[in-house]
Assembly symmetry: C2
Homo-oligomer: 272 residues x 2
């Protein structure tokens, strides 16, 4: 059962490939969806990239990433909001229905303040998101990133921001890497789905030992995360979106990317 119809790959997963290479390779391999990191659009005619993706039957799942709202100056806060507006416009131009938000944090700034700035920042860009009909998916990041990448570190915390904004375009991207350890994982996934805000599901694995805070993620099956179990929890809610493979790995990036892509589809079919 080579069913890749719900497999999406993030362009950063195969970092050595340009968007042109990635779209050809993914399509050839039968991958059904793609999430495009914004760096892959630099210097490109974005709407044309969107057409090329669609012509290969690749569903554009989302772009990555907006966010990084908190700052310690008014200018910094304003710049972040402008960049998020740009991300929303880029997504619309590409034909992506969603932007994933890595919400941001500033070392030493109280997390409570960062969370307030995140909520305010999303509120500030929501009118444009409405106008262009682009969804915003808050991705709770593992607590080991609470210093400088995200003050939103659990599904519960992401749900709190969603509750405050209470808007159908604001939801959550659940990534197993960030949330697998959470004792409230299942109830939070259910709650998120009940509130119609489970927007995305990202998969990879947690290696033991992990040797780098950012770029040592594992392929599904290489680590300790029960990816099939979490996927079952997600699908039990009625979620029928993509399983998005998002792996940052110096180890895998150093290998032949064609082999890596084969390993991804194999791991997807056997360990997720």
């Amino acid at each position: 059962m080579d069913d890749l119809s719900k497999l999406c790959i993030h362009t950063i997963t195969t970092k050595p490939w340009s968007i042109e290479e990635a779209m050809d390779k993914y399509a050839e391999a039968g991958v059904a969806g793609i999430t495009v990191w914004r760096q892959w659009l630099e210097g490109r005619d974005i709407s044309r990239v969107g057409d090329e993706l669609r012509s290969r039957n690749l569903e554009i799942v989302s772009t990555c990433r907006g966010g990084f709202f908190p700052a310690t100056t008014k200018q910094g806060i304003d710049d972040a909001i402008e960049d998020n507006r740009l991300a929303i416009r880029e997504a619309a131009e590409l034909g992506a229905p969603m932007v994933v938000l890595v919400c941001g944090a500033v070392p030493g700034q109280p997390l409570v303040e960062a969370r307030k700035q995140i909520t305010d920042g999303i509120a500030a860009v929501l009118p444009l998101a409405e106008e262009l009909n682009v969804r915003l998916a808050i991705e709770p990041l593992h607590p080991m990133y609470a210093d400088d990448r995200s003050a939103i570190n659990t599904m519960a915390s992401a749900n709190e921001v969603c509750d405050q904004l209470d808007h159908p375009l604001v939801g959550i991207a659940a990534d197993v890497y960030h949330i697998w350890w959470d004792p409230d994982l299942e109830s939070q996934i259910q709650l998120t789905a009940e509130k119609n805000r489970l927007f995305a599901f990202h998969i990879c694995d947690w290696k033991t030992p992990t040797t780098d805070f950012l770029n040592d993620r594992g392929l599904m099956g290489e680590g300790c995360i029960d990816v099939p179990g979490i996927r079952k929890m997600v699908e039990a809610t009625g979620f029928d979106g993509f399983n998005e493979v998002e792996i940052f790995s110096e180890r895998w990036w150093a290998k032949d990317q064609d082999e890596f892509l084969q390993a991804i589809t194999h791991a997807y079919l056997n360990h997720s």
Copy 2:
């Protein structure tokens, strides 16, 4: 105000020093308390070490560490329980009123199962702890250690185990390094104290960037944790125990430990 009367140092913080060196140096510096890691007792007459610590007016706050209960075989589980009984006997011999528990986890074992084994393991050693009047402090570990060090990763999760065991000798060691990011930090500290189970308070700092998962902790003031703020939360509950400096740092261990000890007392007085 050189008030070091609530300063405790973990022997692992000054790893290059033996227990004999550490006790002399700490006492000379006016440090009031010591937490003894069990490796520092190897090959020693434990009760005599206790006498020597007391003769220098060093209060023995606890020993580190018991725990690591989960295993995948009956033998492994039994061995862990035996080692924890040994830890309790050692603490009693030393004259330490408490053993800190790093509860353990096995990569790939469901965390729910690990948590059950942890609860059962503590229950199995409780009779000996009662007999020798030794308290057991569950230390929730940062979620980045959920793969192989602890399945207990939040104060709430530790409180759940405590609720199940419901015993005055079972409580929690709160370490800022592990819990600073928690959105429920303040309420969990309050709840823990209300239940008379806030047994210990450990301090250090989180550096940005952190370059090693284990041994790159910062001295208070070197990172992003609001140690004074968390200490205020803890003391507002009526907690009047020690502030225990527990730092694993290749960087600091490579330096002159006399200078490090000076830096610790300075940081304690100025950044905690």
